[in-house]
Subunit: 170 residues, 8 copies
Amino acid sequence: MSKPLVSIVMGSKSDYDTMKAACDTLDKFCVGYEVMISSAHRCPESTAEHARTLEERGFKVVIAGAGMAAHLPGVLASMTTLPVIGVPLQAAALSGLDALLSIVQMPGGVPVATVAVGKAGAKNAAVLAVQMLALSDEALSQKLQSFKQEMKAEVSAANVALRENVLGNQ
Amino acid sequence: MSKPLVSIVMGSKSDYDTMKAACDTLDKFCVGYEVMISSAHRCPESTAEHARTLEERGFKVVIAGAGMAAHLPGVLASMTTLPVIGVPLQAAALSGLDALLSIVQMPGGVPVATVAVGKAGAKNAAVLAVQMLALSDEALSQKLQSFKQEMKAEVSAANVALRENVLGNQ
Amino acid sequence: MSKPLVSIVMGSKSDYDTMKAACDTLDKFCVGYEVMISSAHRCPESTAEHARTLEERGFKVVIAGAGMAAHLPGVLASMTTLPVIGVPLQAAALSGLDALLSIVQMPGGVPVATVAVGKAGAKNAAVLAVQMLALSDEALSQKLQSFKQEMKAEVSAANVALRENVLGNQ
Amino acid sequence: MSKPLVSIVMGSKSDYDTMKAACDTLDKFCVGYEVMISSAHRCPESTAEHARTLEERGFKVVIAGAGMAAHLPGVLASMTTLPVIGVPLQAAALSGLDALLSIVQMPGGVPVATVAVGKAGAKNAAVLAVQMLALSDEALSQKLQSFKQEMKAEVSAANVALRENVLGNQ
Amino acid sequence: MSKPLVSIVMGSKSDYDTMKAACDTLDKFCVGYEVMISSAHRCPESTAEHARTLEERGFKVVIAGAGMAAHLPGVLASMTTLPVIGVPLQAAALSGLDALLSIVQMPGGVPVATVAVGKAGAKNAAVLAVQMLALSDEALSQKLQSFKQEMKAEVSAANVALRENVLGNQ
Amino acid sequence: MSKPLVSIVMGSKSDYDTMKAACDTLDKFCVGYEVMISSAHRCPESTAEHARTLEERGFKVVIAGAGMAAHLPGVLASMTTLPVIGVPLQAAALSGLDALLSIVQMPGGVPVATVAVGKAGAKNAAVLAVQMLALSDEALSQKLQSFKQEMKAEVSAANVALRENVLGNQ
Amino acid sequence: MSKPLVSIVMGSKSDYDTMKAACDTLDKFCVGYEVMISSAHRCPESTAEHARTLEERGFKVVIAGAGMAAHLPGVLASMTTLPVIGVPLQAAALSGLDALLSIVQMPGGVPVATVAVGKAGAKNAAVLAVQMLALSDEALSQKLQSFKQEMKAEVSAANVALRENVLGNQ
Amino acid sequence: MSKPLVSIVMGSKSDYDTMKAACDTLDKFCVGYEVMISSAHRCPESTAEHARTLEERGFKVVIAGAGMAAHLPGVLASMTTLPVIGVPLQAAALSGLDALLSIVQMPGGVPVATVAVGKAGAKNAAVLAVQMLALSDEALSQKLQSFKQEMKAEVSAANVALRENVLGNQ
């Protein structure tokens, strides 16, 4: 595994079930990453310390997943000029709408690149991070092209399977 | 005006139009306060500095107003053990629902005492702050009793005026 | 257990599953409390009686949990000048949004300090009550400092566990 | 005007602009009513007094209009067995959804008959009150029949006007 | 059982699980009722026929439960001057918000008395119907008074049980 | 103008401001139509009469616009087997979400083809009606092709204008 | 089975569980169809190819089901002048509201005929497709009349069963 | 102005009022860009052509703003491996929630980096684009540091002005 370029941060241990999709996707692209738990609300100092040393430790992109009043992505974005990708996580009440609005509605000057609620979002956070890194990494750019081709092949295979299935039932 | 006990913080200059209702209400109770602009996202260091010195500077309660992905109240609450009251402000889109959910849905361990969206909320933040201070200030507690009586008198007067008005139209 | 200072009121027996988190948290801080069921809609007289005698019975803070058209916190707040903390509970339909709006959107003059929907909110109601009491109780203020430290330690431990877990899987 | 049978209560003076539609509609049916301002939150005692004496003062139906965390209809319903009709009013933020949910989502045993947000709701509250009274008043029942006929005639006239208008433009 | 005075209509067989709460509550008050399935969308003619003969068949109040784009209560209300009570039912998606808005937001002139989503609403529809009938039935009015007393006794008993339970755990 | 094939129905006179976009679009395609006001709630009999005679009067498609608890499209769909297109209109409160859900969430068996809230929806209702008619009208199908080309040309022209404008400002 | 006239497209294999209701309904009407998986986002080229050849392959109507940011129906509609029916599917978070708004809120000029979220919507998409085809197919029009009669018979039978059931329980 | 690296695309001419904030922000950072109108729904072919030639024309990042069923960002993302930033725009109804959900809820594999609704979002889209470009451009990275410092200075100045203003009013 190459030198970690993506820092994946989440608010609590239970978020890993969802955020694992980001790790798996980065693994697929052979992009190194670190994973850590850090809470904007429960340990603001270490979150700040983490944010402020990201660049000197060689990270390029941050992925932050959080639920409820999900401040973690925004707090990290306030303390680094690296791009921060936010993944809204679904907690018990309110269907994840709380986390989505808490992450996406950032004020002018401090963006968080927000993706979908839950696992699809966690996967996409990783793809987006790879897209950013690929801007200056031709090999990675090629892998993204292949990834797009694979998705097409998967849809094509699913299509064939469905048609056989439906035909078989007739 | 007595020594400032309440720190009123807001995310931007334009928030003062709404947050002034908190100032006016504290004035009415003769409770001292400071007003400041501090942005969790645009100046996190001075926000943190502000939060960490609240107690030593003699403040007892914090009122924080913010719109959109309103992190200010939660960020302050993460850095002080003083009670923090959050006022959701209404920005252009989404009717203030974004600010409300970003403030009220705090994770376990780090509460923000949330009040209504907009001016009614700003006024109530001040009343709530006075209620907290009155727990150890008998004179203030008396003023709250009087305040409740005044509200009753106001409703009573409005009622008389309405009935005359309606009667006059018949 | 010390003299009860916090009155925890809920609308029905089934609410205790969620509101227990408030009791457990007050236990942790050794803050005395009473627990009662009282319904703003089904027994308004005893709710009013309860609200009006809170101060003479020595209570300092009220925590009220309710679901659906959750009027209990607001009704108590209309009859006492003690601070009232409202916990929105999630009922079958509408994801708790009904309870949240019914509690937080109080009109000017009668605040309810609203916290998150469900268990996180119940826990935070207790922490917020302790923060209010700590304004005039130095020992409690120290406990809050320790509580914040414990949360940091927990996040730190969770972080170590996650990293070992992830490393172990590679 | 006959003896007042409907008590129209609203939370504040500014609500009269909307609630006037209820008065006008009762006028049309020659059903007597009283109008008053009473706030569940700012003057709970007089609201309770009002609710408890409704029957002995000869009222049959209650119409209550309120905005934000609109508790007034529910509080009245908790203290009388007369039918209570609730009109959600639209305040600055949240489009009246807060008032709607605060009124309609009453717990089992204490209903509030909820109508639409705003003026259409205020008018319909009056029609609904008339429908209730007409259950034991044949003359009123006849008037409701005529009212339905009038609405049909109005639609018919509007239809003619529209067709002429469209034809005229062609 | 007395002569049926309340007509309970629902859109499909599966709605009976929820609407049974209305039947049970009317049983408790010994108020006669009929139950029927009629769909505003799938059998508009028989729904219209049903609505237009309600009065001559001696009914006084209509309770209509429906989910999704819940038109049944409004369609009945358009064809009778009897009061119609609407119960929003929760279907698979959208948490019952679709049914609530489809029922409560009736245009001026044709009210539907809307109650809470689901079982609490079905129960309350029956209580509301009883309240309407009690306007001209003193015995029923007495039963409503007793019903209110019973609710108080139930809350009181639940309160005692909770306190013993909590005390037992300490 | 050719024989009317599309029946455009709306709930009230004020809806014409929005629904005019449907008329204008049908004019553009030289497809004949009638316009009428008919209210599912205020004149159910003439609405039913209208629905039941649509086919014999030679209509092929229905466009129905309504606001609030918008039952008109669904009521028409319950009484004809012609395709019914529903246009949700925005009334004072709730941003048109009430009308949208009341129209789109039809139960299985009785579809309403729902389009966007407001003017864009009214225009699209007409285009959709033309698409349906074009299934058996080759000339109309050609016009739809031209319509698509025109839209492309408009975007292209807007693009040129924007670029000149931006360039001019630099 | 006759020549396929309806093209049913869905975004992923898992959507077939819901979309099968469209197939079953078309089977009932003996209307031929094809089923395929095509993703607007993962295989835009083959989706475009599919859309552009629909007419020459003899299709008359398109049914497209998709969840989340459901672009598939709109993308197909942008590339064909055949009528496109969109079925919003419910994914993990946000109750299907995301798919509904992504499908129904199409801009002026490019309509998608949107039906209800989930299975009821899938069934109704098929009925709507049949209604469109029946505009130029008298036999199909007759089947729609029979289908409406069957629905009435089903409601009638359900009504009888319910009444027996309720009577049996008394 | 340097060679254009950012392609700013919007769905219609009227979107430029909002999207201009992105242009202004890129101007501030001296990052070259092109501006164009292209509609995913009205000119899908030129949109596809645009998307597929982005890389060969030297672009690095795409910013796409759209309202209603906002498919433009997702459609572009389906056809390029460059990072696509989506700006939800607020149209007449539904407060921009439709555009937000249509953009952010992309399925796994095809991310769109979503920012806030409206002008704040348009500005942040530009800042996010600069952050991505700065990953391989040290000078740009320095400018981002300065930009963060400027924001701090602005808050600081606003704070001084507010305090003087408040002091002046006392």
